[in-house]
């Protein structure tokens, strides 16, 4: 608080506002405004029960079932196995026990936690939000400090509504100009991670800035912040502006009309001061970014769809040469292969990266009047997105193109609910991780945007969306 008058970043302002105290040895005790819970949180609940504790502030905790839920049916009996069904039932029991408001499988507010939280107005500018999920960074897109935590930290938040945390360094990623046709927030992130590396923003909070970000919808900004963690940044943020306020207004857990003006005038003060200093600056030219695709098993293994599979020997570091060679073996790809034209087995449109209404619209625009050549599934990010897409006629376009139109959940992004890509199968996926085995043992993932995924479905191979 000593530097109250020095220029501050948005991160610093929100951090200072939530700092209850600072321990002499460094970390801040931060107040947590809202904590999101999903099925994986059962370890934290077991911990509370062992201690004889209960959630201290249940009204500031929200539960959503997403990781294990079936996408063909809306009861735990539809789950892929009894063990998965038990995860969903245990979740409901824990939420009841803790007195926590939750959006279970049959709720119309259910969906992937990072899609639901902004949609419900749980995520708001200026808040601190945690969830025991690494993609909590997504929610910083509204101008919040939002970060993923583990189950021990989650138990701590449930018991105290606080967390001990070291303030991260700051990195500003400025994306200037405008994006070309067919280029989306997903492509920006794959280009960024390819440039700085999967460990490139470790220990940093990223603030996204520049004309491309200002012009971007909330959906796009959520995609940017979502993938911050793939560059090792636990926090992604975008300064709140009119786009943000218009998005937030009237949502269920947002300030009401009487409180609105005061809330907005406070939120306006949160943006980084013009002369605030960031620890690191990265600049991208929007116009230079092409639709991207990954060839390997780390999100940093991304190139333009016009590119080729690299030769591992071309990398600077010995570690990367080894890793790339291993990736190519797993992906069954030879150096020099053109990515465009690579045959696929499946297409998955979904996940907290790319399953919001705008993503589905972009895919549908490509699919309209065309047919998928390979198995393709769409899993809307939330039940509300699903309903909206049905009302807009988008669901019909997907169905007529031969896509399976599923119920909302994490599904094939993490393959925990039984929706998997088979061993050796190649999948174009709008999710965020192309890790070995992520979509199922032996599965081969190529990360792309929703429009690119749609283009891939109609040709049966990786395809430059600008040419369909």
């Amino acid at each position: 608080m000593a530097h109250m008058n020095a220029p501050r970043t948005m991160l610093a302002k929100i951090w200072d506002e939530h700092e209850i105290l600072r321990h002499p040895s460094g970390p801040s005790l931060l107040y947590i405004d809202r904590d999101m819970i999903h099925e994986g949180s059962f370890h934290a609940f077991a911990d509370l029960k062992r201690r004889g504790l209960r959630p201290r502030r249940p009204r500031q905790i929200f539960g959503v079932a997403d990781h294990y839920v079936p996408t063909l049916g809306r009861t735990s009996r539809d789950a892929a196995s009894p063990a998965i069904a038990r995860m969903i039932d245990t979740f409901d029991e824990n939420m009841e026990w803790g007195g926590v408001r939750h959006f279970g499988l049959s709720s119309r507010s259910q969906g992937i936690v990072h899609v639901v939280a902004p949609e419900q107005g749980i995520t708001l500018p200026g808040l601190t939000i945690v969830c025991s999920d690494s993609h909590t960074s997504t929610q910083g897109a509204l101008g919040a400090i939002a970060f993923g935590i583990g189950q021990s930290e989650n138990a701590h938040v449930l018991a105290t509504q606080t967390i001990w945390q070291l303030r991260p360094k700051t990195m500003r990623v400025t994306i200037n100009g405008t994006l070309g046709q067919g280029v989306t927030a997903k492509d920006v992130m794959l280009a960024l991670i390819a440039k700085i590396g999967a460990a490139g923003a470790g220990g940093h909070a990223i603030e996204f800035a520049g004309q491309v970000v200002r012009d971007m919808s909330i959906e796009g900004r959520l995609t940017l912040c979502n993938m911050s963690i793939e560059a090792a940044a636990r926090f992604g943020m975008v300064a709140p502006d009119e786009t943000t306020f218009n998005y937030v207004r009237g949502r269920n857990y947002a300030p009401n009309e009487e409180e609105w003006d005061a809330a907005v005038s406070h939120w306006r003060e949160l943006v980084s001061d013009a002369d605030a200093v960031f620890d690191r600056e990265v600049v991208l030219a929007g116009a230079e970014i092409a639709p991207m695709v990954t060839w390997g098993t780390s999100p940093e293994d991304a190139v333009s769809i016009e590119g080729r599979v690299p030769d591992p020997s071309a990398f600077d570091s010995a570690d990367k040469r080894k890793a790339a060679a291993k990736s190519l073996e797993y992906m069954e790809l030879a150096p020099g292969t053109e990515l465009s034209g690579l045959k696929l087995d499946k297409v998955f449109i979904g996940s907290c990266t790319n399953s919001r209404i705008e993503d589905l619209r972009a895919a549908a625009a490509i699919l309209k009047g065309r047919k998928a050549k390979i198995q393709a599934i769409v899993v809307p990010g939330s039940t509300q997105v699903k309903e909206q897409a049905e009302a807009e006629g988008i669901a019909t376009i997907f169905r007529e193109a031969g896509f399976e139109w599923r119920d909302s959940g994490c599904s094939m992004c993490a393959a925990m609910n039984g929706d998997v890509v088979g061993p050796g199968e190649r999948c174009a996926s709008t999710s965020n991780r192309n890790f070995v085995g992520r979509q199922g043992p032996g599965a081969r993932t190529h990360l792309v945007s929703p429009a690119m995924a749609a283009a891939a479905a109609i040709t049966g191979c990786l395809t430059d969306v600008r040419r369909v």
């Binding site: 209850i20 105290l21 040895s25 970390p27 005790l29 107040y31 405004d33 370890h43 077991a46 201690r51 009204r59 500031q60 294990y68 063990a83 995860m87 808040l127 025991s132 999920d133 690494s134 993923g148 935590i149 583990g150 189950q151 021990s152 930290e153 138990a155 701590h156 018991a159 105290t160 509504q161 606080t162 001990w164 991260p168 999967a198 460990a199 470790g202 963690i229 090792a232 636990r234 857990y253 947002a254 300030p255 009401n256 409180e259 780390s298 940093e300 570690d319 990367k320 080894k322 890793a323 993490a414 393959a415 925990m416 991780r433 890790f435 070995v436 085995g437 992520r438 043992p441 032996g442």
Partner: protein, 204 residues
């Protein structure tokens, strides 16, 4: 949490940059109760062949590996998913410290909360250590948290262990963080009352 002061052991070198938590424990095992023990899931898929048998060339499967309580890893170890199961798997397998150039931020924190000590060592020194261990697999390393010092074998020297003082104190004493935070409850409540006064909608 089990207190940690000092650990001396042979070392298992696990290769691969960006070794994500999906590799440390595949998602399908995360449904298990902790009481079952997570050690059986450690590196489950990558330590096996396609046929599902233990791959004798994987470092963890080599004779002598069972005695090691320290891992040597490459850059960005534990990136990806926040699953604390990755740390449970390591801890339940008996691993007490991990040496590497960098770690995923959430993994790093999860490790500290479970008494598993992540030690950051420059990539250069990690390479030197890996090279040394390939020649002298029986060489031992000491993670001396009490003196904040990593003692490497041969002439590889002593290196400072840099962990924030708060986490270090907690681990040295095996302190329970929730209990410790409860001692600040008055301050927390005062802060909360003030915050709710201006943000009534937060807890509605």
């Amino acid at each position: 949490m089990k207190a940690f002061t000092k650990e001396t052991s042979t070392v298992i070198a696990v290769p691969g940059v960006n070794c994500d938590t999906d590799q440390i424990i595949p998602g399908r095992f995360l449904k298990a109760d902790r009481a079952q023990g997570y050690g059986q899931f450690l590196f489950h898929d990558i330590r096996r062949t396609e046929a599902g048998e233990l791959d004798p060339s994987f470092p963890l499967n080599q004779p002598g590996a069972v005695r090691s309580t320290i891992l040597l890893v490459e850059d960005n170890f534990g990136c990806g998913s926040s699953r604390e199961g990755a740390v449970y798997a390591l801890v339940d397998h008996g691993i007490r410290a991990i040496i590497g150039p960098s770690f995923g931020d959430i993994f790093f924190n999860n490790a500290l909360k479970n008494g598993l000590v992540p030690v950051r060592l420059s990539a250069e020194n990690c390479d030197r250590l890996a090279d040394y261990l390939s020649r002298f697999p029986e060489a031992e390393v000491t993670v001396d948290l009490e003196n904040s010092e990593l003692v490497l074998p041969g002439n590889l020297g002593h290196h400072p262990i840099v962990i924030d003082a708060f986490a270090r104190e907690c681990i040295l004493q095996g302190l329970d963080e929730i209990e410790m935070t409860f001692t600040y409850m008055e301050k927390i409540k005062a802060f909360e009352t003030e915050r709710m006064a201006s943000h009534a909608w937060l807890a509605r």
